[in-house]
């Protein structure tokens, strides 16, 4: 029996990350669990990181690798914005990330989803999996939890959702992945980016809908015992 939790394992964000376009912008979503081996090092991490005012990135895989890549790209984009004289586009951000991911493919272990809004192309989602492939998609899923979502998206995804439909869809999806993936958990965070700006939302676990075999959380057994009558211990 493995009693050691391997507390010296590197911080990995098992993760579920999602990026979805809708008619007007993008919605990014993620869980909040960061683990070192079997121990949950951070149960409320923020995996959706800002690169510029209008471009954000969802991070998965090695926490260290995704953080350093984000930091470099934020730095490059800052300079690019100054030189360009206007906000960077999501395409530029994605291509910069691709460069770092591809050229360091032997050393990095991070999968990223870039989402942003710019005045030229509107809302766009770019996936950059391991290896440094860059692929633009109407929606992207990533991280270990995404395995459980391929079927869900195949069945339920549709083009041209409204902002609220898209956000509810993302929250539902992350919540479903959390239900089945041990490496995903905690809260669901979303970031909505459109022409009007950026909105961050927070959905704590107890506010999410319950799935198969999950029970309504209680304060204590005692509440259940006190509320029901005839056979109290026969719940």
């Amino acid at each position: 029996m493995d009693l050691e939790m391997n507390l010296n394992a590197s911080h990995s964000m098992g993760t579920t990350i999602i990026g979805v376009t809708y008619n007007g912008g993008v919605v990014l979503g993620a869980d909040s669990r960061t683990s070192t081996g079997m121990y949950v090092a951070n149960r409320a991490s923020d995996k959706i990181t800002q690169l510029t005012d209008n471009v954000y990135v969802c991070r998965s895989g090695s926490a260290a690798d995704s953080q350093i890549v984000s930091d470099y790209i934020r730095y490059f984009l800052h300079q690019h914005t100054i030189q360009l004289g206007q906000s960077a586009t999501s395409k530029v951000a994605a291509n910069l990330i691709r460069l770092l991911s591809y050229n360091n493919k032997n050393m990095l272990e991070t999968g990223l989803i870039v989402g942003g809004w710019d005045k030229y192309e509107g809302g766009k989602i770019y996936a950059i999996p391991l290896g440094g492939t860059l692929i633009e998609q109407p929606f992207a899923i990533g991280g270990s939890g995404s395995s459980y979502l391929y079927g869900f998206f195949d069945q339920a995804w549709k083009e041209g959702m409204t902002k609220d439909e898209a956000e509810q869809f993302v929250v539902k999806a992350v919540s479903l992945a959390i239900a089945r993936d041990g490496a995903s958990g905690g809260v669901v965070r979303t970031v909505i980016i459109n022409s009007e700006g950026v909105t961050r939302n927070f959905y704590p676990s107890d506010k999410l809908q319950l799935w198969h075999e999950e029970l309504e959380p209680q304060n204590s057994l005692l509440d259940l015992l006190n509320s029901s009558s005839p056979e109290p211990m026969n719940i």
């Binding site: 032997n106 999996p129 692929i135």
Partner: protein
């Protein structure tokens, strides 16, 4: 060094007016069919069409190298432009040199084109093996498609016949290659230029009585 996101076979043949090439649109991540709209045939300059199988990120990098190559060639502004034979040669050098440094680009490439009426179809692998032929394929296509092509290919195929043969090959690949997806494109290159078809799917046949009742001839077997 190993690939992460990969694409499967490319099949190509010479026909009356030029080259026809077919490839499906699936991008696999290990055993997961993760991406289903990957375009892996691209025009190169005025006279060539490149199709690739293997690691997508390396293919994207090769496209960037070729962009530079073609741009540099255009900047001479001398009326000449790189033909398919030259592009194929360039790719061969790149692939072989990377292989020698033990850092290969994990792709098998198919390069086809027409220049001044002359048709050209070649292939180069990740270790630098390269050759030209009337029909070529990568990966599983070598085992499943080329026997069909050897039997059915002939000089001066019409466009319709060429497409039918390619579709026959792609259907077999769909049945027998685990990483194939039923969404493909067929590209053609002629003296006039490159056309890449819209994505489409092939009908497949499953209604053999032996499929419906596989153990009829030997009840109790599997």
């Amino acid at each position: 060094m190993y690939p992460y996101v990969t694409v499967t076979s490319v099949v190509a043949l010479k026909y009356k007016d030029g080259i026809l090439m077919a490839a499906d649109m699936g991008g696999s991540y290990g055993s997961t069919l993760r991406y289903k709209s990957v375009e892996r045939m691209k025009p190169i300059g005025k006279h060539s069409l490149l199709g690739a199988s293997g690691e997508i990120s390396d293919f994207q990098e090769i496209l960037k190298y070729l962009d530079e190559l073609i741009l540099y060639d255009n900047m001479w502004d001398d009326g000449n432009s790189l033909g398919p034979k030259e592009v194929h040669n360039y790719l061969t050098r790149v692939m072989y040199n990377r292989r020698n440094k033990f850092n290969p680009l994990w792709n098998s490439l198919v390069l086809g084109g027409v220049k001044k009426g002359e048709k050209y179809l070649g292939t180069v692998s990740m270790i630098g093996v390269n050759f030209e032929d009337n029909h070529v394929a990568t990966g599983f296509g070598n085992h499943l498609a080329r026997p069909i092509l050897r039997q059915e290919w002939h000089e001066n195929l019409s466009f319709e016949d060429g497409v039918k043969i390619l579709e026959k090959c792609m259907r077999v690949l769909l049945y027998r290659d685990r990483s194939a997806v039923n969404k493909l494109q067929i590209a053609k290159i002629t003296e006039e230029g490159v056309t890449i078809s819209q994505p489409y799917s092939l009908k497949t046949y499953w209604e053999f009585s032996a499929f419906e009742n596989p153990t009829q001839g030997a009840v109790g077997s599997w």
